[in-house]
Amino acid sequence: MTEHTPSPDSDRSNPRTRRLGAGVAIAVTAVLVVVGIVALVIGLRGTSGTPGPPQPAAGGASSNSNPATPGAGPTRSGTPSSSPSVSPGQIETPAQASVGIGDFLEASQPTSISIPSIGVRSSHFVSLRIQHDGTISVPGTAQEVGLYDAGPTPGQLGPSVLAAHVDTPSGVPGIFYDLGKVQPGDVVNVARRDRSHLTFTVDKVSAYKKTQFPTDAVYKGDFTRPEIRLVTCGGPTDSRNEYRDNVVVFAHLTNAT
């Protein structure tokens, strides 16, 4: 069959009808493709129609989002005057561009965390550790918040990393289900065993592909002030029901009492 040979059915319909038929077929094809893909995606996710967890508004899985860290090169040692008070008092941490080390607190385990803007509150904490394959462990249940125990506790100098599940294997939303809804400027409150109450203010909320996880930005930051990271899963799932992304909230300490 060559291209210019009239097709066998060309004689049983006029050109106008033929065009119409082709148009309808294309439209039907498009609808079927969309329906098919949507059904497959939902079927594979197993959500029977419920949407996935909220994603950061401005986010998108940005790939090379490791903010370069200032502070390399010849730096001065932190001047004592930049650390105004010793005990947890009403402290205002210095502006983010400050040189040197801002004020910080001693180590103390968190006893509760709340994010008022998304109605999250938990007082169930577990320790997260590096496993033999080099990856970090995750909490056993969807209501626990894990603290990376080789990193700072909230309030110490550097980023304290807390992670929790977005949902359970049976589809029940986890404690961090709505983490992607958090906005810059929102606050995260942390109470600690030493009875201090810390307020962290959110700087950024982003989603990253797990294969491009911003390890430096999450675990190191600029390491000159107390910070907190909240991590959960997000994005589409694959056929093994593994989420593609991690949603990360970046915040820094703005008040301690």
């Binding site: 077929a25 079927l32 059904a39 932190g78 294997p169 190191k220």
Partner: protein, 260 residues
């Protein structure tokens, strides 16, 4: 369809594995960093804590460190320790070989090795400055802050630090709570100093950060799919719709071609 999906998943798994291998593997000239939680040394009675972070670029390191709960206004020698034969960790009470209930710097050796970097505020940073008391932070109010870049180390030391095998130790304790370094017991490092001046106060092994992302999705495990019902129905509908689309698509293509 099934084959394509499987291939793609396999590809993704390989990509993940490769990414992890890259992250975990030892870094040479590349920039790496490690961090530590500083905790009280066993037996030495310091109610303090701290954090430290060391960036390694070639043979140059930058150290950022903060601690509290130290004896105020007295010099606190601080070092990075490493020993090829050491355990790359902080000492335990079982390292108290002289049985006095405290750990001195030498007793900690099997755990953390020798001094490889002296965290002085100015001047030399080699092991020779290990007890350069006038050049260490004095922890005003019990709080120590330290930040210094361009500290040159040997390739072996750079490699050891990058591999997570070094340990940060801040020295200087006050057993008798008199507010100064005192007491009859002399330092194991320098007989002209009381042991309080050199005994380790806070210690933390410098670890490599966890590799890759976090598996924080419950992600609707297999039981949801096995149980059939809506999931399977949706899969059937989806597959059916796509098959039908293939059919109508072919029809449309044929129509379109016939028009040409």
């Amino acid at each position: 369809m099934g084959t394509t999906t499987t291939t793609r998943i396999a590809g993704a798994s390989i990509a993940v594995a490769a990414a992890m291998a890259l992250t975990v593997g030892p870094a040479f000239a590349a920039e790496t960093w490690v961090s530590a939680n500083l905790k009280p040394v066993a037996g030495n009675g310091v109610d303090g804590s701290g954090t430290a972070m060391v960036e390694v670029t070639g043979n140059s390191i930058t150290v950022t460190m903060a601690a509290n709960g130290l004896l105020p206004d007295n010099p606190h020698a601080a070092h990075i320790h490493f020993g090829a034969e050491a355990r790359h960790e902080c000492p335990a009470l079982s390292d108290d070989t002289n049985g006095d209930g405290h750990l001195n710097t030498t007793e900690g050796g099997p755990a953390y090795g020798d001094i490889v970097v002296s965290l002085t505020k100015t001047g030399d940073t080699s092991p020779k400055s290990g007890l350069a008391i006038d050049r260490f932070d004095t922890a005003p109010g019990g709080k120590l802050t330290y930040q210094r870049g361009s500290i040159t180390v040997s390739s072996d030391v750079a490699t050891a630090i990058s591999a997570g095998q070094s340990v940060v130790v801040i020295h200087g304790v006050d057993y008798n709570k008199d507010g100064k370094y005192s007491g009859d017991t002399k330092s194991d490092l320098d007989k002209s100093l009381p042991t309080e001046a050199t005994d380790p106060a806070l210690c933390g092994a410098l670890h490599v950060a966890p590799a890759g992302g976090m598996h924080t999705g419950g992600g609707f495990a297999a039981d949801g799919l096995k149980s059939g019902g809506q999931n399977e129905a949706l899969l059937l509908i989806g597959g059916g719709a796509l098959l039908a689309a293939a059919g109508t698509g072919a029809f449309a293509a044929r129509r379109a071609r016939s028009r040409a």
